[in-house]
Assembly symmetry: C2
Homo-oligomer: 329 residues x 2
């Protein structure tokens, strides 16, 4: 197995991306890794690890920056790291592509270069979130497709169910339809239709409607919504997490007394930190495209990137894309 890693994508590229690749190899990862990016930059980041077995470098001179229009950048420039990495998958020279870069660019590359799985009308980003139930939940779609109908939402539920079974080992994952209340008649036209479709569907364990607050509680393993709502919700929740992280650091443990308190409460602080640590699953595979494409957080450092590579590895090993092909059949 070979996995292509966009070495230039993300806030801490290439150093932390390369570190993640090395961590993966040190942990006896099954796949060989192809680091795609500016040859000289990547080799400098590799340093004395340049000869690590199972790691090679493919040169790509260009990068799609975080604030560029992704599809335009890809169409106009043939030598971007994400474009080259995705093309390796298309050519069969790699089995998966992983990127912490511009999410739109990773999605656009997957759609333009790999294309859709037959029978799946719209791709969806499968965002993994931490929950207080001590297990991750999958929010699908976290931002790939804006305008959807009820049938798209059913396909998301089916794809995410196979993903949670294959990649995260969850038997009979439960599916919640994101809505404004529990009753089947809640929500707009699309949600009402989707509730009826999901209720009668085979191949999923439908729980019913869930609300915004259920996502972090882990009420269901999977939360289904359109990409607009999923993106707004994920970013809104992340915004609150940031506020509390800063508040705990600066307000509670900021001054001199705070610093003393921090030492005394260290165990508790670590407990809370551990509870909300989502490095091991902060990856968002793009489902519905004809290949394994995994996006991870722009902020990703080495450990988070290592886990994203592992998600890609499991998706390849369990033949996730072929299974999703049967969803659309």
């Amino acid at each position: 197995m070979r996995i292509a890693v966009d070495a230039m994508g993300g806030d801490h590229a290439p150093d932390e991306i390369v570190r993640g690749a090395l961590l993966y190899r040190e942990a006896d990862g099954k796949a060989d890794l192809v680091l795609v990016g500016r040859d000289d930059d990547v080799r400098r980041a590799l340093g004395r690890h340049a000869a690590t077995p199972g790691i090679s470098v493919v040169d790509a001179r260009d990068v799609v920056s975080m604030d560029e229009h992704p599809a335009n950048a890809l169409r106009r420039r043939g030598d971007t790291s994400i474009g080259v990495a995705t093309t390796l998958v298309k050519k069969g020279e790699a089995d998966a592509v992983i990127s912490a870069g511009n999410t739109g660019a990773t999605m656009a590359a997957a759609l333009l270069i790999l294309g859709r799985v037959k029978g799946i009308d719209r791709p969806a980003l499968c965002g993994m979130l931490p929950t207080t139930a001590g297990k991750p939940a999958c929010l699908i779609d976290a931002g790939a497709t804006m305008d959807v109908d009820a049938k798209n939402l059913l396909q998301y539920a089916l794809m995410a169910s196979r993903f949670m079974e294959h990649v995260h080992g969850v038997a009979h994952p439960t599916v919640g339809l994101l809505n404004v209340g529990e009753e089947p008649e809640k929500g707009g036209r699309v949600q009402q239709e989707a509730h009826a479709l999901l209720s009668g569907a085979e191949g999923i364990t439908f729980y019913g409607n869930v609300e915004g607050r259920d996502v972090m509680r882990g009420t269901t393993d999977i939360v289904v919504c359109d990409g607009f709502v999923g993106n707004v919700l994920a970013k809104g929740m992340e915004g609150v997490v940031d506020v509390f992280r800063e508040g705990i650091r600066d307000d509670i443990f900021g001054g001199l007394l705070g610093k003393i308190a921090a030492v005394v409460a260290l165990r508790g602080v670590n407990k809370l930190r551990h509870r909300l640590d989502y490095d091991p699953y902060a990856s968002a595979p793009l489902l519905g495209v004809a290949g394994v494409s995994v996006v991870t957080h722009g902020r990703a450092r080495g450990p988070m990137l290592r886990y994203a590579i592992e998600v890609g590895e499991r998706a390849v090993a369990t033949q996730l894309v072929a299974t999703i092909g049967t969803v659309g059949a």
Copy 2:
């Protein structure tokens, strides 16, 4: 001025509702209050304050519970506290209605009994949220109307602008369109159309697109979205706040060492608590209906209810409904 208060609505009714009414009167509130609910229950809650000047009781034997279908309950039963309280406004016997009860019932009562303001196509719930910018932000629509078009979103922006000027004293409040990215072409069809409409609109200060994380940062005074997205986002953010509140209490300050740390860090804990205290504005007026109707949190206790009454008072004193009538003209 007279304000009708649904004394039976909310998790802590009638005791905390009555306490909020008394707090308002003790703080020299301008309006007389009419407490609407089961006469005996309300009088018991009033206790020795039964003869407080400016407080009267109107009997209503029935209550819409938190999990009832609101419109059905209101159509079938004529003697619910929210129905009677809203009817007082319709008859001109009160100038505003305040409730911490079933939000759907408060909205349904306002729509069925008061009706819409001429020229406003859809009502919207104006949810007030705390921000780290040290000022509240208004999320409109927080859950009144599910399926909307771009013109509805423009009306929300206009109504919320007048609300923030009149009731919260913000000059030239900035309006953000909730979206998945900054660029005008982001989002679905409705958001793209709304961006164009808002860009050219008079009577608002349009900032451009904002994202989920901007809401808590207070990037704009007003965040415009449809009621489905607004409801999901508000509940999602609230869910994260709850997780951190519990985490700080149980994980960080839970054990013996944690309790010692809590005493040492008390000033910091209070600082964070104060920063996120949104009692003074945790009210959601329903805009676009022909009268002042203010919803507050089901969890509301006395102080939060007092502030909701003050929001109603300011809406009446500044003739908000008449001003909104000019928006629709």
